[in-house]
């Protein structure tokens, strides 16, 4: 999974990737002036899912842990931002910091459970964590308002700034936040921790034999992934002004894994994957009422396509 990232020697001499990246960012910034309000709201949803996909990719593609439960920390962050907004704190950056903190705290609290397992069992346990957290959100009515969810006032891009009620402005705020988070992720991946996490994906026993405290390092990675997921939750509140247990449900967890798989180990790939998922589910499937079937087909295409692509590359 990490082969595409761990082969620095095959980069072309012409800086194709930075150019493509710069072009994509330009198009993304100009998008509100190109497409309509509905498309722009879909694009904002794709960015939110993209943040969650980056968090998942940090575990799935980088660390080699098949995480199914990042939606839980996403939900923790979203409820944090919603409760803050309803308490009168509507500044988006405050939401981001607070939601990232609670997401990280929730990840730290659950890490002792999930990191005792690997591989398929890791997936099972993270799935259980996601599901039980969503159940908690639906049962803890005094705080979460149960299945009815929480409606919130509009988020402001800075304290005292204008309320983000127009889709285009909300989208630009979310885009700025996602670019910042992507930058942080890029720094993290190039840090010592990023390298250590990759090492664990390749050969955990050897890392342990080299004297690495593997569990501690994986805990750090897991907490970082929780923080990114939590920040994504804060962005969900900016876009939807609403959160319910469904926002951290099975489908969100499943499509996040799909987005990460489409990304094949790369962070930008995960965000592109999230955009593809939203396109297939809401744009193609939205008008037919068969969104789940479109998603299911996408799941199969990606699952069978990935080994093919891998074989073609090697």
């Amino acid at each position: 999974m990490t082969t595409t990232l761990s082969r620095p020697g095959v980069l072309p001499a012409v800086p194709v990737r930075p150019l493509v990246f710069a072009g994509t960012v330009t198009v993304c910034v100009a998008l509100p002036w190109i497409v309509g309000a509905y498309q722009i709201s879909l694009a904002a949803s794709a960015l939110v899912l993209g943040t969650l996909a980056m968090s998942t990719q940090l575990l799935v593609g980088v660390t080699g842990l098949p995480a199914f439960g990042q939606a839980a920390y996403f939900g923790v962050g979203a409820y944090t931002a919603a409760l803050l907004a309803n308490a009168g704190v509507t500044a988006g950056p405050v939401h981001l910091v607070a939601a990232a903190s609670t997401g990280a705290a929730a990840a730290l609290a659950t890490a002792p459970i999930v990191l005792r397992t690997r591989a398929t069992t890791f997936m099972m346990v993270t799935f259980a964590v996601q599901s039980l957290t969503a159940t908690l959100a639906s049962k803890w009515k005094p705080v979460t308002n149960g299945d009815d969810g929480l409606h919130t006032p509009a988020v402001r891009p800075w304290p005292g700034g204008p309320a983000l009620t127009v889709n285009g402005f909300t989208y630009l705020y979310v885009l700025a936040a996602v670019l910042l988070l992507g930058l942080l992720m890029a720094v993290l991946l190039r840090s010592r921790l990023g390298l250590v996490l990759r090492g664990n994906a390749d050969h955990e026993q050897r890392m342990a034999a080299l004297g690495h405290r593997v569990t501690g390092e994986l805990t750090l990675g897991y907490v970082a992934a929780g923080a990114f997921a939590g920040a994504g939750g804060a962005l969900l509140i900016a876009v939807n002004r609403y959160v319910s247990p469904a926002d951290m449900g099975f489908e969100v967890a499943a499509v996040t894994l799909l987005a990460a798989a489409i990304g094949a180990g790369s962070m930008t790939g995960a965000v592109v994957g999230a955009a593809l998922v939203v396109f297939a589910r809401d744009y193609l499937g939205g008008s037919t009422e068969h969104g789940p079937a479109f998603l299911g087909i996408l799941f199969l295409l990606v699952a069978y396509g990935r080994p093919l692509v891998k074989r073609l590359r090697s």
Partner: protein
């Protein structure tokens, strides 16, 4: 006193629900054991069984028998088909791709079933012979649930004996603990795998047919069953039938008594159970797939 009997009845419901989860969970553990995959379409198999029951059964015992036979056939076929759809991914297929395939199947099947049976939960009718309630001391209890408890307990005993004592059971355990060694000693591991997948699928769909009056078919039921049965597998440790049974009964009690007395605490109880078991068992790469009891 009155409250105590209410708890006792709820607890009996918990036993019935626990045995339902055991049947589904044992199938999941079996598939996990031989293929090292998490079958995310396992709840879908239960849901198929429940819809089969809702459509075919009702009225006589014969109809229930037909529904069960159809369900078992569908489940065995579905389970065996799993090995074929996973084959293109290669023997060393990544967990991610395997999960995506079963997820894709689950999504498409859920969409199809909602289209065919509607978005509202369906009612399942109990055969007339098993209708009504029987008096247990001072409280009446539905006959069907008692019969279900009996049948599921019998399934548990038969499974345990089959895995421990029978030749196919021994071949299964050999295949799970060391596939290469098992193949070298003359066991057709491919056939054992397919058979185990068929049994695993049949257990899930069979549980759906018989369990439909307890947990009826409707959108979302597949996820509920999937999550609870995989908690059963994690807590019980795949490979041990008694362990799976104990875990299922525990989850059954948490889901009935726990949800009645402290609904917000029930998720914590399941978290706690997983934490305790995983800490006690020590770190393992794949629960105890290599150590079948």
């Amino acid at each position: 006193m009155d409250q105590l009997t209410t708890y006792a009845v709820t607890s009996l419901d918990g036993v019935a629900f626990g045995l339902l989860l055991f049947t589904v969970g044992a199938g999941l553990a079996l598939i996990f054991g031989v293929m090292d995959i998490m079958n995310l379409a396992h709840g879908t198999l239960y849901l198929v069984g429940a819809y089969v029951a809702a459509t075919l059964s009702g009225g006589g015992l014969l109809a229930l028998g037909v529904a069960l036979a159809v369900g078992l056939a569908v489940g065995a076929g579905g389970g065996a088909a799993l090995s074929f759809v996973l084959r293109p991914l290669g023997r060393e297929g990544s967990h991610l791709d395997e999960a995506l395939v079963t997820l894709g199947i689950a999504f498409i099947a859920a969409d199809g079933m909602t289209a065919a049976f509607g978005a509202a939960p369906m009612q399942t009718h109990v055969p007339t012979a098993l209708e009504g309630s029987i008096s247990l001391g001072i409280h009446a209890y539905p006959v069907y649930r008692l019969v279900f408890i009996g049948v599921a307990a019998l399934v548990a005993v038969l499974l345990h004996v089959a895995v421990r004592r029978s030749t196919p059971g021994k071949m299964l355990r050999a295949t799970i603990s060391d596939p290469d060694m098992a193949a070298a000693s003359g066991i057709d591991t491919g056939r054992v795998r397919t058979a185990a997948l068929a049994v695993g699928g049949a257990l899930a769909v069979g549980a759906g047919v018989l369990g439909a009056p307890l947990l009826g078919p409707g959108p979302g039921v597949d996820n509920t069953v999937l999550v609870l049965s995989l908690i059963v597998v994690v807590v019980g440790g795949a490979g041990s039938i008694p362990g799976t049974l104990l875990a299922a009964l525990l989850v059954g009690q948490v889901q009935t008594i726990g949800v009645v007395t402290a609904p917000a605490l029930a998720p914590f109880a399941l978290f706690g159970a997983m934490l305790i078991v995983l800490v006690l068992r020590g770190r393992t790469t794949a629960v105890v797939a290599g150590r079948p009891a």
